[in-house]
Every structure is written in C-alpha cells, then in structure tokens.
C-alpha cells in the first residue's frame, strides 16, 4: 500500500532524511521509532503530500505522492504531531467540516460522524468547543478527524501523546482493531507502544533507517549474551567467584544492593538450573532467578546511541536483515 524508495529531504544544508526506503503491506501496522528530530515527522509529511521530497519516490495506494496528490490525500487519514483542531468550533462542527472536506455528504456524513464519535468516546463532549477540551480529548478529536472518511491508510504521528494510561490502552486497541483492513504507520518514541500494536518496527536515527524487523526478532538479533538476575538473602563473601565457576557463566556483576547479582552466559545457553542447584545446596537463600530478555528499549538505545561496534559485537551468525549504518560518527545523537 505504501512504497517509499530512496526518499531524501534536505532543508538547505540540513539533511532531514537520507535515502529512506521501506514499504507497508495492506493491513499491516508499522511503527516508526526514533529519537526526536530523527526524521519521523518529515517522512510522514512527505507521505501525506504536505512536503515534497528532494529526491526519491513515494507511492501510496499506487498513486505517486508528487504527481497525484489529490488521489493520495483521498486515501489517507493523517494525524499530525499537533492535533489540527480549530479551537473556536465545537467537536460536532469540526467533524462535520472535516467530513465535508473529504467529500462526505448527507446521510453518509451523519453516520460517519456518529461512528467516530462513538469509537473515540467523544459523545459527552460533542457539543463543546474544542478550545475548552483537555489535551487528551483534543488528541482524540484529532484521531476522529483522521478516521472520519474511513481511509485505507492511516498515518499517525505520535497518536497517544497527551493521553492518560487508560486512554492509551483504548487507542492502542483501536489501532489494533484497524489492522487487517487498514494499513497504518505510526510514529512513537514510546517503545512498549511499538511492541504492543505493531507487526513491524522501523528504527530511524539521524535521518537514516538503522533497523527494520519485527519487535521480537529485533531484540533477539541484537542480543549477544543471555542475562540472568539472581537474588540471594544469605550471599557469602565469595559468592561471586563461586558463581563464576559454574559451567557457562561468562561474567558475574554485583547488581544493586547486597545479594543481587547479574550473570551473563553464552547465547543459547541456559544456566539457571545449575545456578539454582548451587544456591540451594549451599543454602544461600535463593529468592529470585530470572532470565532478562533484551527489551526493545535496549535495542533502540543501542541503535541510536553513539556506540562503536554494535554490529561487530553482535553474533556474526545473526542479523542479515539488520542494516546498521556504518558511518554513525557523522550523525548527531
């Protein structure tokens, strides 16, 4: 549905995005992940025909964003970073205006309005001025605006910003329910969000795509050792050295308060059984033994920080799909 080929956008000397290539299939939810200023918003603005790209080609639903912007705009629902709401209108008036702009009329418009009002829980505020609504409600009005014409493609720039935890869950459920029938691109810097709702994650930093995969595979591929957290109530002084003697253990670090340790072992080797046996037979008061899997957060930090040799460190047999940018030194973090 969305196909982006080698898109570059320059503002004078500054390169906002640099030869970005990715695609989104029908019904897929793609998360755009990156620190502030990474180029997420610029990419979305190009896809919505708000900005022209300096180089490259973007097609949405088979239409070129530059050549046939009206056809593209008809098929897109877009929620910009700041919800584009008119404060002087009521929610009803605003949605009616947006619906008409998108070509809805009469009974179609009325039913589309009641559908989005119900879906986003705006019933109680529909006759109030948007200027008097809270940030969370404005965000929801912004989402309602993007959904009103039931577009096959949704582009959502940080859709859950400003919402309370309950609303965040509701909006994530909403986005999940859109998957399958709609193609969705959402940008976020909240990582659990990407894990929760997306099938695929594109990590972008300094205008370049640094990784692209499913959230699960990204975290396994970038991990180079298994980590186990261990907590003992009666750890002896020599606990560290005795733990190190267990077969497969690479490193032992004291981790926080006394009795807490972090053990590293080779990838694919589970040392928990041996550690448990040692701790129990030595009567160290074992209270916790937990495998720590790398979260998307770690992956993200790893890929977007100035870190030398992320690709060299990682297991050479893994990640052919991960394209780690080679000239990271040039990109500001």
């Amino acid at each position: 549905m969305i196909d982006v080929q080698q898109i570059t956008k320059r503002y004078g000397q500054h390169t906002a995005i640099d030869h970005v290539t990715f695609s989104v299939a029908k019904g897929e939810v793609l998360a755009f992940l990156g620190p502030n200023g990474a180029g997420k918003t610029t990419t979305m603005r190009i896809l919505t025909c708000f900005l022209p790209a300096t180089e490259g080609r973007a097609t949405v639903a088979g239409y070129d964003c530059f050549e046939q912007p009206l056809e593209v705009k008809r098929r897109i629902g877009y929620l910009p970073e700041t919800p584009p709401v008119y404060q002087e209108l009521t929610v009803d008036e605003y949605l009616r205006f947006v619906g008409r702009l998108r070509g809805l009329t009469g009974a179609m418009l009325t039913s589309a309005m009641s559908r989005v009002i119900e879906r986003l829980g705006l019933g109680s505020v529909q006759h109030r001025l948007i200027g008097n609504l809270s940030r969370g409600y404005r965000q929801r009005v912004g989402l309602a605006q993007a959904l009103i014409h039931d577009p096959p493609i949704l582009i959502l720039d940080e859709p859950t910003v400003g919402l309370d935890p309950k609303q965040i869950i509701e909006i994530r459920e909403l986005i999940k329910s859109l998957a399958g029938s709609h193609s969705v691109i959402l940008s976020t810097h909240i990582l659990p969000e990407a894990t929760a709702v997306c099938q695929r994650v594109v990590i972008i930093n300094g205008g370049r795509i640094v990784a692209e995969d499913t959230p699960d595979r990204l975290s396994t591929r970038l991990r180079h050792s298994e980590k186990v957290a261990l907590t003992l109530t009666r750890a002896p002084v020599d606990a560290e050295s005795r733990l190190r003697q267990v077969d497969g253990v690479l490193h032992v670090h004291a981790n926080g308060p006394a009795g807490h340790f972090l053990l590293e072992s080779h990838l694919g080797k589970d040392i928990r059984e041996d550690i448990a046996r040692l701790a129990v037979t030595s009567n160290w008061g074992l209270v916790e033994l937990k495998l720590i899997s790398m979260t998307l957060e770690d992956v993200f930090l790893k890929l977007t920080r100035h870190e030398e040799g992320v690709s060299q460190d990682s297991d050479p047999t893994s990640n052919p799909a991960i394209t780690t940018s080679t000239d990271k030194k040039d990109t500001p973090s």
């Binding site: 708000f50 709401v85 002087e88 209108l89 008036e93 008409r100 702009l101 998108r102």
Partner: protein, 255 residues
C-alpha cells in the same frame, strides 16, 4: 457542498465566534455613521446659510455628502480590512491546522478562493449595513442614485483589492500582527503611487505609475463613471494578488 463552500462556511463561522469581527465591524459602522452625520449636518448648515442669503438653496447631496463620504471610507477600509484578513493563513500556520487543509483532498486554488470568498462576503455584509445611510437620506431628500450606486461598486472593488492584498500578506507569515502591518504597508504604498505619478506628470512613466495606484480608478467610479479600464484594473489586481498567494503558499512547502 463543494469544498470551496465548505471552507467559506467554516471561515464565516470562525469569524462570527471571534470578537474581532464584532469589534472591527462595530467600529467601522460607527465611524462611517459618524462621518455621514457630520457631512449631512454640515451640508444642512450650509443650506440654512444659503437660505438666509439667497432666500432659496439648491444643495447637491451627491457632491457634498456622498463624494466626501466615499473618499473618507477609503481610509477606514485601509485600516479595517487588514485586521479582517490577517488571520486567514497566519493563524492556521501558527496553530498547525494548516496541515489539515493541505492534506485534505482539496486543491490549493480552492483553499485560496475559499479564504478570499469568506472575508469578501463578510465585507459585503458590513458594506451592506452602511446602505442604511443613503436609504435614510432618500426618505428626506432628493439625490441622484446613479453615482451613489457606482460609488458602492467602487467600494466593492476597492474592498476586493484590499482584501486580496491582505490575504497575500497573511500567507507570507505566521504572525497575525506582521500580516496586518504588511498589508497595511502594501496598501499605503499603492496609495502613494498616485503621488509619485503626479510628480512625474504626463510622461509615460508617470501615467503607468498613476495607473498602478487604485486612486484614480476608484475616483472615476465615485464620480459616476464606469470605465472598462478601471474594472480591468481591479479585476486583474485581485487575480494577481490571489495568484501570488497561491505561489507563496505552495513555495513554503519547498523550503
């Protein structure tokens, strides 16, 4: 509804929920009313004087009231109309609602036309209310309606020109004060061109510069002359300003 109508309806709605229109419109009507009152009373006083001297008086209301009034309204419009147009693009850019319009399936032509039409309709409404002045006068006196109507045509065209300049200024910035001031400055410049033109006298350059100012074109209409040249001047100036607006809005995307 076509996209332009939708936009016009929304813009008018936005105008009427903001206090700006009521304040600006109220002040405009108040000043125009006050000026009309002054000219009428002044004319009345002259008539009484003439009556005392000559025993009878032939007073020409067209010359003494309407021509004065029409030339004063120019000044008021110069100040008032930039205030009405300043928000059109600047506010949308500032509040980031412009992204909504630009990513909706509506062309830039339609956006510019809708913005201009909405403020033009608003202006026609305000101008329509001043129609009470000639209507009231007509109850008590006789005057020639023809120059009054051509004067109103002049005001409509002059207003359209001022508004199109204001729309352009609003597209240039996201600061409403700057937009108002730029359109005020541009209009003043157009006004003063007539002075430059008359300094240069009857030379070709002088004639061209005088033609570029709206002054003589408007004066013809106020004096009851409908000349195609004047209509062409206003029509082409408005179209040029709206075309420039279109280019300015489009070009901001490329920066």
């Amino acid at each position: 509804m076509t996209p332009v109508n939708t936009l016009v309806a929304k813009e008018l709605r936005s105008y009427f929920v903001s206090p700006v229109v009521y304040v600006v419109g109220g002040v405009f009507l108040l000043i125009v009313g006050l000026l009309a009152y002054i000219y009428i009373v002044f004319t009345g006083a002259q008539a009484i004087q003439l009556m005392q001297v000559q025993g009878q008086a032939q007073i020409n209301l067209n010359d003494l009231v309407f021509r004065n009034l029409f030339s004063s309204i120019r000044f008021i419009l110069l100040i008032v109309l930039p205030i009405l147009t300043m928000r059109l693009f600047a506010e949308e850019k500032k509040l980031r609602t412009f992204e909504l319009l630009m990513t909706s399936p509506i062309g830039l032509n339609e956006i510019v036309a809708g913005k201009f039409m909405s403020v033009f309709l608003l202006f026609l409404g305000l101008l329509g209310l001043t129609g009470l002045i000639p209507l009231t006068l007509a109850l008590f006196s006789d005057f020639d309606w023809y120059p009054v109507l051509t004067g109103y045509l002049g005001l409509v065209l002059l207003g359209a020109l001022f508004l199109s300049v204001g729309v352009l200024a609003s597209a240039l910035t996201e600061n409403q004060i700057v937009a108002a001031f730029v359109s005020f400055g541009l209009l003043l410049f157009l006004w003063l061109l007539t002075g430059v033109g008359s300094l240069l006298g009857d030379t070709p350059t002088g004639q061209v510069i005088s033609y570029l100012s709206f002054m003589e074109h408007y004066d013809h209409l106020v004096r009851g002359l409908i000349d195609t040249r004047d209509l062409v001047y206003f029509g082409s100036a408005v179209i040029l300003m709206l075309f420039l607006t279109h280019r300015v809005v489009d070009s901001t995307r490329w920066k």
